[in-house]
Chain length 145, copies 2
DNA sequence: CTCAATAGTTGACATCATCAAGTATCAGGC
DNA sequence: GCCTGATACTTGATGATGTCAACTATTGAG
């Protein structure tokens, strides 16, 4: 038994901040299914669509790594997206084992729609002052580095 | 066709902030499966465990609402958690149709372990100054209101 | 050229999630 | 009391998500 299991790294403030982040994360997690359903997508498909940027082909393996899931799972996800005409597999010129994914026109439009809806800020964000909003932008930018 | 579909409510700053939040959200979403696997849980089970606070029984229906999923899905999720001895169904004294969920000792310990790991702040958070961390706490608190 | 490693697919299987239908209970009106 | 409609949960059917092991094709090192 590890009696130090409850001792966390990081300052008390950073722990408190991250606890709130986890709260927010779970709240957002519950938000995704209904939002996805409006576009006839699943949460996982939204995640994939979010990761394929238009004009920036991505190898399937890299997608699996970013999603932190098994490669064979990506095969199925892409199968369904491709059968809906949102995505296309293309051979990689550099390595014939690799297939890269590109968005179709339809896929690109749907992705824009999805990101548009997801990134519409909740009311609570609008109640912050402008300086607070800017502080948040600055802080989040550094968190994502 | 709604030609204003791309016009977002909220100030430019709040939109930018929320775009970053969505980035963070997807990154965290990819983080959950490996973390859950360490505890032999699925992401969905983590979400459920997070929502059942020790000593605070919650009706199954309320769980379905918070998860934004169908009631029958909760039945299956709870079946598996109960068969692992993490959760128990108990009849509600107020309404015999309702079953409330309580954590077992094991479930409570596992939940603590889970939240402990999830709320361990990433390195990037520790690189912020203390005043920035406090500002983040203040802002996130208001976002969750 | 051989051989281990890598990228992706396939099939088997558990979980997640929805829906429609069913049972039990509740709450209101008669 | 007794209907009747609504609510809480379960069941069974079905599709999506996810893992694993085994497979093919390709790469790259020796």
């Amino acid at each position: 038994m590890n009696y130090n299991a409850h001792v966390k790294p990081g300052s008390p403030d950073s722990c408190e901040a991250w606890q709130l982040m986890v709260q927010l994360f779970f709240a957002q997690r519950a938000n995704l299914p209904p939002l996805a359903a409006e576009l006839e997508l699943s949460p996982a498909q939204c995640h994939v669509l979010h990761l394929i940027e238009p004009g920036r082909p991505i190898p399937m393996g890299q997608l699996a790594e970013t999603l932190a899931c098994h490669a064979s799972n990506v095969t199925g996800l892409v199968d369904r997206l491709e059968s809906r005409g949102l995505v296309r597999r293309r051979p990689s010129p550099a390595d014939r084992r690799v297939k890269v994914l590109v968005l179709t026109q339809t896929g690109s439009r749907l992705r824009t729609l999805l990101l548009d809806r997801m990134t519409t800020p909740p009311d609570t964000l609008g109640r912050l002052s402008v300086s607070e909003q800017r502080a948040l932008v600055r802080i989040l930018t550094r968190l994502l580095e």
